[in-house]
Symmetry: C2
Subunit: 213 residues, 2 copies
């Protein structure tokens, strides 16, 4: 069952709620949590917490709150995080490499962290067919083949801006439907494919605005 027409703004807050619930669940001493407390810990107003979660079902009881264990499980299902998601990193320069190491550490330390980088790609002949942190670096033109073989569903793109659109086009052709782009470029994807931008420069430029206040 999927829930249609839920806005990206709602979806954006779900991982924040999940993080609070994971912390409470693993600490073990919070069984019930009010929307007030969940909101405070997630940095969202209690009314918005209730409204967001109501899109997906009735999870809380008035005056009692949300059952932490249950809501955590449900949110993991809603976000498709109840099963392993196999991820490619395309472009293993210093940023790509750092993201691989970060992912491997998270994956190793947290058995519930199901986002797993399992394949690397690069265009540099000197890197292709070598291993990085235990993973083989494939040439980009094998993306479709490796995607099929490895069951890749998501890609993290850290190639130079000039190559980014071409790489994203290849991801789309290969059937990858969720892409996190770090290249400082405006990219387009067809409907049905989701692209998120993690361009660090844009974030810094946005923050710079507030320095003048």
């Amino acid at each position: 069952m999927r829930w249609k027409k839920i806005s990206d703004a709602v979806v954006r807050r779900l991982p924040l709620y999940l993080r609070v619930l994971e912390e409470a669940y693993h600490s073990g001493d919070v069984k019930l949590m009010s929307s007030q407390e969940l909101g405070e810990r997630a940095g969202v107003s209690p009314a918005l917490v209730r409204k967001d979660l109501a899109w997906f079902g009735e999870f809380g009881k008035q005056g009692v709150g949300y059952e932490v264990r249950y809501l955590r499980e449900e949110l993991r299902k809603i976000l498709n995080l109840d099963r392993e998601i196999r991820v490619a990193v395309i472009g293993v320069g210093s940023l790509g490499h750092a993201l691989v190491r970060y992912n491997q550490q998270r994956y190793r330390e947290d058995q519930h962290f199901n986002l797993h980088v399992v394949a690397l790609f690069d265009a540099d002949p000197a890197k292709i067919h070598t291993r990085l942190d235990g993973l083989m670096i494939h040439p980009i033109d094998t993306l479709a083949e490796v995607t099929r073989r490895e069951g890749l569903q998501m890609a993290i793109v850290t190639v130079p801006a000039s190559a980014a659109q071409q790489v994203v086009d290849r991801c789309v052709e290969a059937g990858i439907r969720a892409i996190l782009n770090f290249a400082p470029a405006k990219l387009t994807v067809p409907e049905g494919v989701h692209l998120a931008n993690a361009d660090v420069s844009l974030e810094l430029q946005r923050l710079a605005y507030y320095l003048g206040e």
Copy 2:
């Protein structure tokens, strides 16, 4: 002059407009741009482009469009990007190091890119007082002193989640008012300090939602 009460959503789109204008300006062959074209290139509706920019002044003429060179200059002023902003990277593990290298490359290649990483900090005694890519790594407890001396205004935080709040508190004490946090932790800052989260895991979890569609 500052413009009060402008929503974060508006501010978030300004760097997207600036990027389009920078590209047009440097290509040299586009002198005027309609809100239609600016919107298309930035991925924003033309009506929203006009509405966003109207917060800051009258930049366009109906039926003529925006003068690229002028609007670019004005946006750079609005975002405080018309002068150098000195940035600290706190935590120089693999992600921190990758961000330093990325910044140095951008800064070197683009004379208009005014976000400049000039100081590094770490807690690891083996790293402290050594140089990384030409920059000295300082101990974290000298943050206030180095901030004063170097005129630091912004910090990029890439320390482990468990240390992140403490590091951010130190930034606030040192007078840094804009912080980009990569640690997977919910952090709080007092009013007047701006914190942006660039937690890669949250972005990936959000994208995972769409895999089930």
